[in-house]
Symmetry: C2
Subunit: 202 residues, 2 copies
């Protein structure tokens, strides 16, 4: 059926189809929207995409995303950030979620994923060795395992704990419990079990 | 918060955010996926987008999408297609849906939208005058109104009927009724009412 569409349009639909969760219908919708916008929006997106891989690099310390050529993330370089506290996250955008709370004053370490045998991701593919190096170099006092409350999150946390071996560093992880604003009766049983286990004196 | 991200990444997220139904989180996911793919996928999408508006035009007869420089759609130029039967659709991709049935042998006419006061689309913005011209030039015998079964679809159909005035052309529209494979008990009442009204002898 592709011959029904102009090749230039089919190319865009195919390229959009590479994005995660974008099927042929969604790709068509995006492409047709851009055609209707005239020259402005597609060229803007094209230009931004052309600069993407050249303009983005990884922080050599924390593996957060940084502008190309910048060696270390601002969040690490900032002298007001406590380098002895490290929040370990799976992906670069996770640290933005934590930053948005405005409650965190330490630094970050991006693993670049989670241990997941199904997706063929072993612990050696993650930036764990670099984390251990930071623990020694920066005399890290606390590692906050800020990974997802999933099987992969748990096994990654376990692996990091093992790798840290006998080092005198406190390891914590984000509390599991009831999300704010969710009715008790609608909470799933695992969340509720964790909330019970982690109950705190008031 | 945008200062947390490299500008080249923020640009891509902003540009993806222009697409219909793409919020900040989805735009982030697309951008991050492309970063992880390395140079290949973003450059491919960038290249395809850069060619999009230059590579796609509109058929001067039917307003279907055609490769730039091509005056008339293949579906119209093809001598095997019956030019005296015209299926009128709202958007270019609608004709692909009809083409895929393999049951239709006539030609198409793309209106470029539907009458919709809420979206500020009046009938004069649609390619209705060009349709009337085709009726006269091609001696069209039947117009199949293949618009959505929505308020906008109905009022557009009504407007076209009015504009055709006293011309001796048969106007039909797609049957409304039960979708194939849907249980009667799950059909909505409006669909069921239409299916009753349109009941046929067997």
């Amino acid at each position: 059926m592709s011959s029904l569409l102009p090749p230039a349009l089919q190319d865009v639909i195919d390229a959009f189809g590479l994005l995660p969760g974008v099927g042929p219908r969604t790709a068509e919708r995006y492409a047709y929207y851009l055609i209707r916008q005239g020259d402005n929006d597609p060229k803007k997106l094209a230009g931004a995409l052309a600069e993407l891989t050249d303009g983005v690099g990884y922080c050599q310390k924390t593996f957060a995303l940084v502008p190309s050529g910048q060696e270390v993330s601002d969040l690490y370089a900032d002298p007001r950030r406590d380098k002895q506290v490290v929040a370990v996250v799976a992906e670069p955008f996770d640290l933005i979620a934590i930053e948005k709370t405005g409650q965190y004053n330490g630094t970050y370490h991006v693993l670049g994923g989670l241990v997941s045998p199904i997706d063929n991701i072993g612990p050696e593919q993650l930036h764990v060795a670099e984390l251990i190096k930071r623990v020694d170099e920066d005399k890290v006092k606390e590692i906050i395992l800020a990974t997802n409350a999933s099987v992969e999150g748990e096994s990654t946390a376990l692996y990091i704990r093992q790798q840290l071996g006998g080092r005198k560093v406190k390891i914590t992880r984000l509390a599991r419990g009831l999300p704010i604003g969710v009715d008790l009766e609608y909470a799933d049983q695992i969340t509720l079990s964790r909330a019970l286990e982690g109950r705190q004196a008031i």
